[in-house]
Amino acid sequence: MTLDLAVELAPNRPGRLRLRHPVLVAAGGAGYGNELIEAVAEQKPAAIITRSVTREARTGNRPPRMAGLPDALLSSVGLQNPGLEAVLHRQAPRWAASDVPIIVSICADNADDISAMARTLDMRPDASGLELNLACPDRGRHGEPIGHDVAAAETATVAARAVTDLPLIVKLIAGAPDVRIIARAVAAAGADAISAIGPVPALALDRDRAGARLGTAYGGLSGPTIKPIGLRVVYEIAQVVRIPIVGIGGVACLDDVLDYLAVGATAVGIATAALGDPLLPGRLGEELAAWCEAHGVSDTRELTGRALPRRKDRGSLRMGPFGR
């Protein structure tokens, strides 16, 4: 049996974003990637999505920025980054030297910035793709994230798509009232793939309960705790779009990878657990290969969507005492 773990994240641009296996580092899980790339010879992640970059530099949020919760991380880094130009200047040369594809995550609340960043990246050979992060709070809409609104999400996607033919992944957030509507709009606007979910807004208190634990009060919840929410969102998206989905949220072991594939993901991203164990994404790629071999699966695409409702089941009234 020849085992094919490779997946295409932009099937309409064949070969442009072909991953050796389906497990990658999600945004924020490995900074701009170079520390990881340079330390790892084997067990490489399938790709690295960088932490989100903005057009201008940002100093990030007021500390403390992270709190450990049971099986979860609460964080609010606030997009600290030196701006796209500086990131490319300092980091991109080393990306070019690596065989791990680097996908640059960009974030902005207006079409101008998105276009400008996408255009800049389009001219660079070192970025293998672009992730557009829709978690950005929209100043025009009282800070509600772009990803909550169909029109805003669509505009943002078009702004990027119009100026580049780099593979474009659009990252949705869990909080949209109906994520399926956003997913459909984003796919129609030209996204090559969708990733989901980002962190879930949450809060934790200081030990003495005199205030919030993070400097910004609110933070994003990530890690194992959010997996059931991420699976729900990917399961919803997978039923309404045909483009590949990168399932993200709480992945920490092979079972989690298999779960995301089963609900329709083509690839799986890891941030929080990769902070604790940077080799995890690469190792899970190997574990997945071993699992496929042991279970007679020759292509991971066979696993994608296995748990989705099949059409023939719909409307069926026949079910036994326990509902099956």
Binding site: G31, E35, R51, Q80, G276, D277, P278
Partner: protein
């Protein structure tokens, strides 16, 4: 419950230390205060290299790697090849479920520890119940190098005062409690003044309020003591945060570091420095007080 398999040593390969993770064996868990535990480990490699103020990253066992993987090394005995950690139940660390003989895997020592000037003879350590884990190793360092050391500890009440058995006999142990139930009544910071002339260097960890109070005191000390500004007489202006400069600073603080990559890439551990943002896991957890932006009310 998802539990990560033990990762290979990687952080070490990119972090400040060139050493891989180490399998360590639990020798003893002792509850020294209700809900607070001392864990003693056989950990030859870490014990040999650790400096006060450094931490280990717990790679296994852990609950999905998230529950406070970073733990300060609270004590060491290089001869016995042992280290101690102080953990509280609220930290929820998976280490507390282990029993003597069990093995864990630690990556470390990580981060920059305190810089003890070779010429310093008298070391002052200031802390509170929660901060103790981050500075207690200064006492071991002092004893191992035949320096004199005093540890000032503040607590709300006697019930939160760690027993003196946690410290070697050589250390002077001074206590203040807010309710006066043991030692001096009031905050421990108030006692620092009476040691500032005696101490060559001061190491502090604890609540934000304690750090601020001691930092404020230290900021005025140079003037009071008639001490030359550090490094002023040297030819080249030393780089802020460089070891030699830190070593010459009277006050160094160890900031808490509980979660994050410990690799320098996540920026979750950032604190505000005087002229840049500093990462607790790389530029810290020990800092010279003047490196940090205190914005004290003066």
């Amino acid at each position: 419950m998802t539990v990560l398999a033990a990762p290979r040593a990687l952080r070490a390969a990119i972090a400040t230390t060139p050493d891989p993770g180490e399998d360590v064996r639990l020798l003893e868990t002792r509850e020294f205060l209700p809900g607070r535990y001392l864990l003693r480990w056989a950990a030859a490699g870490i014990a040999r290299r650790v400096r006060p103020g450094q931490f280990v990253h717990v790679m296994a066992p852990r609950t999905a790697g998230l529950l406070l993987p970073a733990v300060p090394v609270a004590g060491f005995d290089r001869a016995a090849e042992q280290i101690t950690l102080l953990l509280s139940k609220e930290d929820g660390s998976a280490l507390l479920a282990l029993r003597p003989g069990d093995v864990a895997r630690f990556d470390g020592p990580l981060g920059r520890g305190f810089e003890v000037d070779p010429r310093s003879r008298f070391l002052l350590v200031v802390t509170d119940t929660d901060g103790l884990a981050r500075v207690r190793a200064c006492v071991d360092e002092a004893v191992a190098t035949s320096r004199q050391v005093a540890l000032l500890l503040g607590a709300r009440t006697i019930a939160e005062v760690p027993p003196s058995s946690l410290l070697p006999d050589e250390a002077e142990y001074v206590i203040a409690t807010e309710d006066g139930s043991l030692g001096q009544r009031g905050g421990i910071a108030e006692l620092v003044a009476s040691y500032e002339a005696w101490a060559d260097q001061c190491f502090v960890a604890g609540s934000d309020g304690l750090l601020r109070r001691v930092a404020k005191l230290a900021a005025g000390r140079d003037a009071r003591m008639g001490v030359a500004r550090l490094g002023r007489k040297r030819g080249r202006r030393p780089v802020r945060g460089a070891s030699p400069r830190r070593r010459l600073t009277w006050l160094q603080v160890a900031l808490p570091h509980e979660v994050g990559c410990a690799l320098g890439v996540c920026l979750g551990c950032v604190v505000r420095g005087v002229d840049s943002q500093l990462r607790t896991c790389r530029e810290g957890p020990a800092f010279a007080a003047p490196e940090l932006r205190w914005e004290l009310d003066q």
